[in-house]
């Protein structure tokens, strides 16, 4: 039994945490949150790219450093802890994974090196507005290599260079890569719950789109990409949840009321114990998801869904109860509490809601049962 990260992976985690503590304290997400003209922290993104983090799990033949997914997982946890305002998840967990999972050899060789180096930012577009996107209700359509329709919210869609789009194609759905700088693409930022990560509304009007994988078979590839991304999103959520717990503990020890630290009252103690319990359940599920992702195990769909559900619950709970622990000051703009509260909802919805993932989890268990 060796259900733990290796010493080298733990060292990478410490190194990443140290780097982000210096390069991305909470003034950085706050700066992006408050400045409408700064869609992401370019200086931080450049440093992350200089560290070769986007290419950490991308194989060497496609310009990455080919470490593996456990290494990517420890980086993800630290990015989540730091509420990092960068397009890492869009470019790495979604666009690069979609190309790895669905792309031809030629497409991988052409597109991945730029994503690995950070020279290009990629993203992934599925949602077309409020309501769950399904294969049946997609409106954006791919026909003869041209894409038309509207996608929103597209994470980092206002700054990305390329986008993997899920679109209706005949009776099914296809994935296609679109150059967002090309003809027939117009985009504008949309306001979201978490302005520290920008999102866009993109209108495609006969934009040139290169099919990724087989026509009409895109939905299954999308599911596979989302299973893999679910583990990585969960690691970010776990990092965020732990940051909230540490922030709440710090405040509960230092804030006095009724002549004693509020952390000595059971009402607060039990609240923080409950955060810890949810975080530990999430951590255990995340580690299992990380193992399944790194080994491409047949358990991945269920393991990923469990990690995703547990981490979504943990970050949501930790971020809201962190505000509650702080009391009035926690509701102010100047407090950092809302950075986590916003990010928790952004990550919770980014690749589908908790309800959708719970349903996928049970479906996966039903399939295991039937097999």
């Amino acid at each position: 039994m060796n259900f733990d990260f290796s010493d080298a992976q733990k060292a990478l985690k410490q190194q990443t945490r140290g780097f982000l503590r210096a390069a991305c304290d909470t003034t950085v997400p706050r700066r992006v949150l408050e400045d409408a003209d700064e869609p992401f922290a370019r200086d931080l993104w450049q440093q992350i790219c200089a560290n070769e983090s986007p290419g950490i799990a991308i194989p060497e033949e496609y310009g990455g450093i080919g470490f593996g997914y456990l290494e990517l997982c420890v980086v993800a946890e630290e990015l989540g802890r730091a509420v990092a305002p960068v397009p890492f998840s869009s470019s790495v967990y979604l666009a690069a994974e979609a190309i790895l999972q669905g792309g031809s050899e030629e497409q991988k060789a052409k597109l991945l090196p730029k994503l690995a180096s950070g020279e290009s930012i990629g993203t992934f577009a599925l949602s077309e507005g409020p309501g769950q996107a399904t294969e049946a209700n997609l409106q954006a359509t791919l026909r003869n290599g041209r894409l038309s329709g509207t996608k929103m919210p597209v994470p980092d869609g206002d700054v990305a260079d390329l986008c993997v789009v899920v679109a209706k194609d005949g009776d099914g759905a296809s994935l296609a890569v679109v150059d967002l700088g090309g003809e027939g693409v117009s985009r504008e930022p949309v306001d979201t719950l978490d302005p520290s990560r920008s999102h866009a509304r993109i209108v495609f009007d006969g934009a040139e789109a290169e099919l990724l994988g087989e026509a009409g078979q895109g939905w299954a590839v999308k599911d596979r990409v989302f299973d893999r991304a679910a583990v990585l999103f969960a690691m970010e959520q776990l990092g965020g949840a732990d940051a909230c717990l540490q922030m709440a503990i710090g405040y509960a020890k230092g804030r006095y009321a009724f002549g004693r630290p509020i952390g000595s009252f059971q009402a607060i103690k039990h609240k923080l114990a409950d955060i810890y319990i949810k975080n530990e359940l999430a951590r255990a599920n995340c580690y299992y998801g990380a193992w399944a992702l790194s080994t491409d195990a047949p358990e991945l769909p269920v393991a990923a869904a469990a990690a995703r559900v547990a981490a979504t619950q943990a970050f949501h709970f930790a971020s809201k109860e962190n505000i509650q622990t702080h009391g009035g000051i926690g509701f102010t703009w100047e407090s950092d509490c809302h950075l986590y509260y916003r990010r928790s909802k952004l990550l919770a919805l980014g690749i589908g809601s908790e309800r959708v993932w719970k349903d996928r989890l049970i479906s996966g268990l039903e399939q295991q049962e039937a097999a």
Partner: protein, 408 residues
Amino acid sequence: MDFNDTPEQAAYRAEVRAWLNANAEPRKDRPSVSRRLDADEGLALAKKWQATKADAGYACRHWPASHGGQDRPMIETIIYDQEEARFDVPTGFFSIGLGMCGPVMAQYATKEQQERYIPPMIRGEEVWCQLFSEPAAGSDVAGLRTRCHRDGDDWVVNGQKVWTSGAHYSDWGILVARHDSSLPKHKGLTFFFVDMKSPGIDIKPIKQINGGSNFNEVFFTNVRIPDSQRLGAIGEGWQVAITTLMNERLAVGGAPPPDFREAMKLAAACDLDGRPALEDSAVREKIADWYVEAMGMEHTKARTLTALSQGKVPGPENSIGKVVSASKLQNVSSFGADLMDMGGVITDPSLMPSSALFQQSYLYSPGLRIAGGTDEILRNIIAERVLGLPGEIRVDRDVPYSDIPTGN
């Protein structure tokens, strides 16, 4: 990251498995041997099994050789327990003795006493119980009222203990009593081991919510205990008790069913609005919640085992175990009964899915949230020992015990 044994652990597991195959029956899809037999037969069989196990060197392997063990790493004991769980053997009678009483005897008894008492404890020849809780001292066990006073070479004990597992079949018990009420509550306690067949000990089973009787009340009326059976100094009883509680077995076993598996099976078999209940999204969401909790516990155990297997001390993550599993059991049980709708109130096993397991555990599960530390006490422990939050303000800590206000 992998879930495999090391080569040495795999070899040990294979050895254990071969021995168990040769000496025990694999578990079958029927009530376990402990549930098929009456209490006396069960105990006799358990004693026989424990002796067989001890003779083969599989009992208390991780204990020091000086105390009847073999100085082997904890992970070997866990591997043995994992393998034994696949076999239909009687267990449970010795867990208090080996988990709590053995370690305290090893630390505080004289060498002669250790030689006299520990080997029969390991072989299951003598059964031990623990006498801490009282009617007025549960979570606040240091507030206990059972009195003891010195009389010649003996101590004389009067009072009442409660929630004592196995008192009626135990040979020996460990006991904390108050020798001086004028001292603050933690300082007036003294610790003993006592012959459970002593004159003046009266044992009565407690009838629980679920009708079962897993615990006893134990009354002490002028019970004499030789001073030689005192463990630790006079007034050191609280420190000895704390040592005992810290030696509670590592929670690496599984929680009792029903869990998400049973809930899912039931939901597939029950109809809701004319469709299988498992197709209902509210039902799916609940089962997903329990899956995440159950697997979170499972993988947390894997983290603990990893630390033990590497010879490290496990992290604090293990402390969440009972808080999560006890509430889950109660919720799953209640949900299972709900799925059966109006029929869900029936408890006759012959009429019900899973032999009325959901109904039985509905009545049993409240106890699990209280036994061995209430949900509330466990949250205090997590908050104080794991998260480092300040302790409670204790208004009764430094005043004489006799001046502490009491309620009912």
